[in-house]
């Protein structure tokens, strides 16, 4: 999978791309020709809708068109945000290596807030038990070695809100 450093420049979306996103953010139609179905909603051809999706993917705006499982329903009940205090000199190299571990779903470098929050590397780990999350965290720990000065695992105990990211239709 791609291990990309984040780009600082965000592209500005054109109006039609924006409409395409608004039309599909709830889901892609489950019909034989979904591109035509979506195109029809915003007044473009199926070919153009498909071409725009391909371009959005090439630009990195669209990661993929995919199934998003409810991970609790699949037995993954434990979501551990593992956070690490990693030597600034080595965090890029080690962050990439951490992100490549197959069980790490998200991996970011974020700012510290000293003295309260010394952690600069975040890696999200999911498991069917706490033990599983902990043994996965231990593998990250081994990888970070002596560049790591401390870490914690923050388990989520409740979802307080989950509406997802939504673009609003422009008024």
């Amino acid at each position: 999978m791609s291990t990309s450093a984040s780009t600082s420049e965000s592209m500005t979306l054109g109006n039609l791309d924006r409409e395409l996103i608004v039309a599909t953010q709830q889901g892609l139609p489950l019909v034989s020709d979904p591109w035509a179905a979506v195109g029809e909603q915003i007044g473009i051809s199926g070919d153009e809708a498909l071409a725009r999706f391909q371009r959005l993917q090439a630009n990195g705006v669209l990661r993929r068109v995919a199934a998003v499982p409810n991970h609790y329903r699949l037995g993954y009940h434990f979501n551990g945000m593992t956070v690490w205090d990693v030597d600034d000199e080595r965090v890029r190299e080690l962050g990439r290596a951490t992100g490549e571990l197959p069980f790490v779903s998200h991996c970011y470098r974020r700012p510290r807030h000293l003295p309260l929050w010394p952690y600069n590397l975040f890696a999200m780990v999911h498991g069917t038990s706490r033990d599983e999350v902990e043994s996965k965290a231990e593998r990250i720990h081994e990888l970070l070695g002596d560049a790591c000065r401390g870490h914690q695992i923050l388990y989520s105990s409740a979802i307080l809100k989950k509406t997802g990211l939504r673009l609003q239709r422009k008024r």
């Binding site: 669209l62 993929r64 998003v68 923050l154 388990y155 809100k161």
Partner: protein, 159 residues
């Protein structure tokens, strides 16, 4: 708020359902008649694929099927923020924080910093203003932790 303590047994999936679930987490090919293309790969009919997919959505096994956008590339502001909320105020502060439409996700976590939320705004410049508004409404500091570098995003659950 939904609490995550009730362990739920993973559903019994047929081989076909399992194959569809795994394959479609990797993404639909961006080609004409994409479902037919995936169905052919899996050795099933397009109708069978679409029927199973609809059933998995209806049963809630899938939260959605569709494009996954890279929020950071769409323009606008995006950040992760955390707060240390005293236990006796937790419910009130949850309501206050969730009342902001810019709060997309909010999780309770086991730590002194016990509230973690994602802020998404149409304009990047709006993030500091929303943070200030949350601080003045709740009376607690908000620790802003925007991503400085992304090493990996690949959330998939193979079954």
């Amino acid at each position: 708020m939904s609490v995550m303590e009730t362990p739920e047994k993973p559903p019994a999936l047929s081989d076909t359902e399992r194959a569809i679930l795994n394959r479609l987490q990797d993404g639909l090919p961006l080609v004409p008649h994409p479902y037919a293309a995936v169905a052919e790969e899996l050795g099933i009919g397009e109708d069978t694929l679409l029927t199973h997919l609809q059933a998995m959505l209806d049963s809630g096994l899938l939260t959605r099927f569709g494009p996954m956008f890279h929020a950071g590339e769409m323009g606008g502001g995006l950040t992760l923020a955390a707060m240390a909320v005293p236990e006796d105020e937790f419910e009130t502060v949850t309501e206050q924080v969730n009342s902001f439409p810019e709060v997309a996700h909010n999780y309770r976590r086991e730590h002194d910093l016990n509230m973690w939320f994602v802020l998404a705004t149409e304009e990047e410049e709006a993030i500091p203003r929303v943070i200030q508004d949350i601080e003045s409404l709740t009376g607690h500091p908000v620790y802003n932790m925007p991503k400085e570098e992304e090493f990996h995003v690949n959330l998939r659950f193979y079954v």
